[in-house]
C-alpha cells in the first residue's frame, strides 16, 4: 500500500499486553492541516493506537512492532525527556477519560499554568487570560469560575472542554483527540468542533480524531478510517467511506445510527472475537451477513476499491 510521507506516519504498528496482541498492525498517515477521523467497534484498539503515538500506554501494554514518525522524528527512539517536550506542545492528546487525565486536587487554572509555563515563557496573568479566552470560545460561559474550580466541581462536559482547551492552548501541530465530544450536547459540540477546525485554518494544525459520532467525523474529517478487532479494515475519503462503504462492518455501523424519526437498527448480531482468540480468516466473518467461503480461510488485506479508498474484504 503506498504511503505518503506525512506529518505523522504510523507504520504497521503493533501493541501487545502480556497475553494478547491488541493493535495488530495498523498503518496510516496524516499530513499537515489534515483531519483524519477514526471510528470502530468498542474495544477494537483506537485508544491504544493513540496512546502508542503519545507514548502514554498504561503499564502492561507495549509496542512490539512497527514504526512511528512525527515530522521526521522517530517517536519510538525518542528518549522520555524529548517525548515530554514534544507532547503538550507540538503534539497533544485529548484523553477519552477526562476525569483520569485531570488532577482532582488541582484547580483548572493550575493545569493551564503548568502546561503553558513548562512549554514556553509566559507570565501567570497573561497565561490565565489566554486560557480564559480559549475556554470562552468553547462555550464555557464563566471562565473565571472554571479556572478557580477543581475538576470534581465541574460537569462531565465541562471537564471534557477543559481537556480540549489544554490540548489546544499551545497551538500544536497535531492533536490526537480520543472521543473529544462524547460528553457534549449538540450545540456545544458544534461550537467545539468549529474551534478545533479553526485551529487547522489558522495554524495548519492536523487532527486525528476518534469518535463514535459518525456525523462529527463526516463534518470534520477529510479521511475516515474504520477499525475492527485491532485492524484498520477500511480507509478513504469520507464521501466514499460513508457514501459507498467497502466493508460490511462499515455498512452495519452506518445502518445502526439512530435517526430523528425513531428508527434504529440492531444491525450486527453477536460479539467481536474475544481477546486472544485466533482466527485464520477475516475477524468479522463470524458476524458478517455477506461472508463467503474464503472469508473463514485467509485474512483479507486492504485493497483498493475506489479512488484513495481501501477496504479489507474478500467480497469488496
Amino acid at each position: 500500500m503506498p504511503m505518503t510521507q506525512g506529518l505523522l506516519t504510523i507504520d504497521d504498528i503493533r501493541v501487545s499486553s502480556a497475553r494478547h496482541e491488541i493493535v495488530k498492525g495498523v498503518s496510516l498517515s496524516i499530513g499537515q492541516g489534515e483531519i483524519y477521523g477514526l471510528a470502530g467497534e468498542s474495544g477494537c484498539g483506537k485508544s491504544t493506537l493513540l496512546k502508542s503515538v503519545t507514548r502514554l500506554l498504561p503499564p502492561g501494554l507495549r509496542v512490539v512492532g512497527g514504526g512511528l514518525a512525527f515530522d521526521g522524528i522517530d517517536l519510538l527512539a525518542l528518549p522520555p525527556e524529548g517525548m515530554r517536550r514534544l507532547r503538550g506542545r507540538r503534539l497533544t492528546f485529548v484523553s477519552q477519560n477526562a476525569v483520569e487525565a485531570l488532577n482532582d486536587s488541582r484547580t483548572v487554572g493550575a493545569h493551564f499554568l503548568e502546561t503553558m509555563r513548562s512549554h514556553g515563557r509566559i507570565g501567570r496573568k497573561e497565561a490565565l487570560r489566554q486560557a480564559a479566552e480559549l475556554m470562552a470560545s468553547l462555550d464555557l460561559s464563566d471562565p473565571g469560575r472554571i479556572l478557580a474550580s477543581y475538576p470534581f466541581e465541574l460537569s462531565g462536559g465541562m471537564n471534557q472542554r477543559v481537556l480540549i482547551a489544554l490540548a489546544m492552548v499551545m497551538k500544536p501541530d497535531l492533536i490526537l483527540a480520543d472521543e473529544p465530544t462524547s460528553a457534549l450536547d449538540a450545540a456545544v459540540q458544534a461550537q467545539v468542533v468549529a474551534e478545533m477546525m479553526g485551529l487547522r485554518e489558522r495554524y495548519r494544525a492536523a487532527i486525528l480524531i476518534v469518535s463514535h459520532n459518525l456525523g462529527v467525523l463526516a463534518h470534520m474529517a477529510e479521511t475516515i478510517g474504520v477499525m475492527y478487532a485491532g485492524l484498520l479494515v477500511e480507509r478513504g475519503p469520507k464521501g466514499l467511506v460513508l457514501g459507498l462503504p467497502g466493508h460490511p462492518y462499515t455498512r452495519a455501523l452506518i445502518a445502526a445510527v439512530p435517526d430523528l424519526d425513531g428508527n434504529m437498527r440492531d444491525s450486527v448480531q453477536g460479539s467481536p472475537p474475544s481477546p486472544g482468540e485466533v482466527f485464520p480468516g477475516c475477524p468479522f466473518a463470524p458476524r458478517c451477513p455477506e461472508a463467503l467461503a474464503a472469508c473463514a480461510g485467509t485474512p483479507p488485506a486492504l485493497r483498493q476499491v475506489g479512488d484513495g479508498h481501501w477496504a479489507a474484504c474478500h467480497a469488496a
Binding site: 467497534e41 468498542s42 459540540q189
Partner: protein, 262 residues
C-alpha cells in the same frame, strides 16, 4: 395511570464557588411510571447529573422531596438506604471512577450480588459471567482491573453491575456515550428487554437526541437547573416548543446515509 415509581417534588441545590452561586437544580418536579423510560436531555452543565445524584440519594437536596413507590425517601439512611438501592440503581457518567481501581471488575460485580443476596456462593461465578455476557463482554474481562479495559467496555461493565441487581428503577447517565453505534443498538435492545421482563423503569440521560427519541417514551429538556419542556419524546423532537430544544435539534451533524448493502 397508577402510582408512579418515582416522584420528585421541587428539588433544589445551589453550589457556592467564590462569590458565584450556581443553581444546579432549581425547582425540579417530575414523576416516572413503573416500566416507563423517561429521557432527560439538556445542555452541558444544566444540572442533569446533579439531579440524578439527588434522586439516587448520593447528595442531599437543599430542599424538596423524593418519593419512591409512594414513600418519602428523602432522608432515608442505614437499612432504609440499603432497601432503596435494592430497587434503585444508577450507572454513572464516568464509569471508571465508579469502580474501585484496585478490584477486578468481576469482584466488584460479585460484591453487589452478595450484598443483596442475589447469588448463592456456588453460583456466583456463573452469575458474574452471565451479567458480563449480557452486555457483550466475556468472562475474561471480569478478570481485569477497570483501567485495563476500553472506555466502552468499562461503561458496559458498570451497566452489567447495575442491572445484576434487577432494580425497579435504573438511572443511566450517558450510558452509551463511549459505545459505537452498533454496540449501542445492542445495549438499547438489552435495556428494552429488561424493561419488559422486570417492568423496570429507566431515567435515560443522554446528549444524543436521536437515541433518546428512539428509546424513550417521554422526555424532559433541562436548561439552567429547570425542566423547560416536557412531553412525549416523538412530539418534543418533531415539534419542539422551547428555544433551547430547537437549538439542540438544529445543531446536530447529520450522517450521510449510504445506499443499502447487497
Amino acid at each position: 395511570m397508577g402510582e408512579p415509581i418515582l416522584e420528585c417534588r421541587d428539588l433544589r441545590v445551589t453550589f457556592r464557588k467564590g462569590n458565584r452561586l450556581i443553581k444546579a437544580v432549581d425547582g425540579v418536579s417530575f414523576g416516572v411510571e413503573p416500566g416507563e423510560c423517561y429521557g432527560l436531555v439538556g445542555g452541558s452543565g444544566c444540572g442533569k447529573s446533579t439531579l440524578a445524584r439527588l434522586v439516587t440519594r448520593l447528595r442531599d437536596a437543599d430542599s424538596g422531596t423524593v418519593w419512591l413507590e409512594g414513600r418519602d425517601v428523602t432522608g432515608v439512611t442505614g437499612r432504609g438506604l440499603r432497601a432503596f438501592y435494592r430497587k434503585v440503581q444508577m450507572v454513572f457518567q464516568d464509569p471508571v471512577a465508579s469502580f474501585d481501581p484496585r478490584k477486578k471488575i468481576g469482584q466488584s460485580i460479585a460484591e453487589v450480588l452478595r450484598n443483596f443476596g442475589l447469588a448463592e456462593r456456588t453460583a456466583l461465578r456463573a452469575a458474574i459471567n452471565g451479567a458480563l455476557e449480557m452486555v457483550g463482554l466475556s468472562p475474561e474481562h471480569g478478570e481485569r482491573l477497570p483501567g485495563q479495559v476500553s472506555g466502552g467496555q468499562c461503561q458496559r461493565a458498570a451497566l452489567a453491575r447495575a442491572v445484576a441487581v434487577r432494580p425497579r428503577l435504573l438511572i443511566c447517565d450517558e450510558v452509551t456515550s463511549a459505545l459505537d453505534v452498533s454496540v449501542q443498538a445492542q445495549i438499547v435492545s438489552l435495556l428494552r428487554r429488561l424493561q419488559g421482563e422486570l417492568n423496570m423503569a429507566i431515567i435515560f440521560i443522554s446528549h444524543d437526541l436521536s437515541l433518546v427519541r428512539c428509546f424513550t417514551t417521554r422526555l424532559g429538556v433541562m436548561l439552567d437547573g429547570k425542566i423547560v419542556e416536557t412531553g412525549p419524546a416523538a412530539e418534543v423532537v418533531s415539534t419542539p416548543k422551547h428555544e433551547h430544544t430547537k437549538l439542540l435539534l438544529s445543531s446536530l451533524f447529520p450522517v450521510p446515509r449510504s445506499a443499502p448493502g447487497p
